[in-house]
Amino acid sequence: MAERTAAEPVARREGAAGVAGPGRARLVRRGGESWRTYRMVAGMWIRSTMTYRSSFALTLFSSFCVTFFDFVVILLMFGHVEGIGGFAFAEVAFLYGTAGTSFGLADLTTGSLQRMGRRVRDGSLDTFLLRPAPLLAQVAADGFALRRLGRLTQGLVVLVWGLLLLDGVTWTPLKVLLVPVTVVCGAVIFMAVMVVGASAQFWIQDAAEVTNSFTYGGNTLLQYPPTIFAQELVRGVVYVVPLAFVSWLPALYVLGRPAPAGVPSWAAFASPAVALVCCGLAGLVWRAGVRSYRSTGS
């Protein structure tokens, strides 16, 4: 199997030299290659996890519990109040569920990128660079932790719960379509943020925690209605780090509430475009990071 991995991309690269039109075909080919690498590495990690089934079941359960306690706090809050920032429980649960599911998806697929700094510091990234497979796919899939399904499951449970409790919403086909699209695009935006964070660690290895404030911090922020935050902060996550597109803007539309002040109403449908732009930017930053990589001397 290892031999095939090594040979295939090389053969494909030679083939590509013959094809005149680079651009899209190349992009598609690279994408396919990345996907295959990712699937192979992740599959290996899943098989290794599944060797200890009961241990896996326990960590999955505890991962679910950790995130569940996070939601218990909101339940406790609603034990004292009817609404937060003018939002009822069902609406907050919907916000929490969309953001939580997106973040859970991103954490499951690219959460391992957090360890980039360590790889750069101890030089183990060299091993990945030597392999004839896309680097980002290798690093993202390395240490693939299936137990992170716990977070995703919790997000989904809360999302479904929120949807069941929502009664003031008049569902249109557009709104029904918007919910899954939002979750997927939100996950892609979170992934892009994680890739940018990992890229930054090429230059500053110890700053992994800064990424946390945008990923975990962003997730916490999006769980609450935008009405309770300072307007500068809301504008910051719309225009600077576009986390508002993960869930807030589309979710507000679904809930039939106005967009935050100064944000056009069509922004609710901009998530796919924003996700695409984020991916492009993340790719550029990643490329710059890899180019500046100098292996450790020790």
Partner: protein
């Protein structure tokens, strides 16, 4: 404890071919005629702990940034909550905001979500490096306590003070009445960090039996996150859950220091009661850690190979 191993080998002309190494059987440092003034030794270890963590300046700056972002997000949710229910849990909005930033400041100092040393200690048990530690002319628990004290001192200055200042610049939260209150708060924080150490040391000791202490660590992490009141003050917890949470050791880590800061214990008997609560938990947990350590070193089989 009489060194039984020594007696055996002295009697025979050759040492026994195989035997289980018992750490209690090894001659202690004093028996080997090697003495270091204890207070100076542990002061040096503590200073080493401080310097070690002070080396990672970028990581500290990154931590301060993250603490501040979380503090900011939590602050707004608390403002919304206290807007709906003023005086919830006996706090004013300003008190609640002070509570948020105290929580961010004490996160690493009191080990709310991980003591910052247990992973390393458990790894040493797993790899067998712990044998080196047990040979040292120092007590294992006291050694790690000293190192952790140094870590806490640095974290208080580095990751504690900075988010507090940032929070105070953004929000107008409650500040202690005077220097006396600050001193009372710092004493409570010191006791809180002692309880935090004792808790995580106990968690780390589990590795002697389980080898992989990740499960225990994760359970402790979960309890710490919820019962320390980091997400929501414990006096907002309802009914029996609140009563339980307020007497568990995790209450010593954040809730008690924060209430000392806010002056909810007053200056007299109430304050002494708060210290006594923290002190009792510290003593009980340190003693439990000692017992676990004694049991572990009696039976320890060193990993290696």
């Amino acid at each position: 404890m009489p060194p039984e191993g020594d007696g055996k080998s002295a009697r025979g002309s050759r040492p026994a071919p195989t035997r289980v190494v018992r750490f209690a059987a090894l001659p202690s440092a004093a028996e080997r005629g090697f003495t270091v003034p204890r207070p100076r030794l542990y002061a040096t270890v503590a200073a080493g702990g401080f310097r070690r963590h002070a080396t990672y300046r970028v990581a500290t700056a990154a931590g301060v940034f993250t603490n501040s972002v979380f503090g900011l997000v939590l602050s707004y949710t608390y403002i919304a909550l206290w807007d709906e229910r003023p005086r919830l849990g006996g706090y004013s909005v300003d008190d609640a905001l002070a509570y948020v930033w105290i929580g961010q400041a004490l996160l690493t100092v009191c080990g709310l979500m991980g003591g910052g040393f247990e992973t390393e200690l458990m790894e040493r048990v797993r790899t067998g490096d712990i044998a080196v530690d047990l040979h040292r002319p120092a007590d294992l628990q006291a050694w790690w306590l000293a190192a952790n004290a140094g870590r806490c001192a640095f974290q208080l200055l580095g990751r504690g003070a900075a988010p507090m200042v940032i929070g105070a610049l953004v929000f107008d939260f409650t500040l202690p009445d005077g220097p006396g209150r600050w001193a009372a708060f710092l004493l409570s924080v010191a006791l809180g960090s002692l309880v935090g150490f004792a808790l995580w040391y106990l968690v780390a000791m589990s590795a002697f039996w389980l080898l992989d202490g990740q499960g225990v660590a994760q359970a402790a992490w979960l309890c710490g996150m919820f019962f320390s009141g980091m997400l929501l003050p414990l006096n907002v917890f309802p009914g029996a859950l609140g009563d339980l949470a307020r007497v568990l050791p995790w209450a010593s880590l954040l809730q008690v220091p924060a209430d000392v800061y806010l002056g909810r214990y007053g200056d007299g008997g109430g304050l002494v009661g708060a210290y006594a609560f923290q002190g009792c938990w510290a003593l009980v947990l340190l003693a439990a850690g000692r017992a676990a350590q004694a049991a572990a070193t009696r039976k320890v089989v060193v990993q290696g190979g």
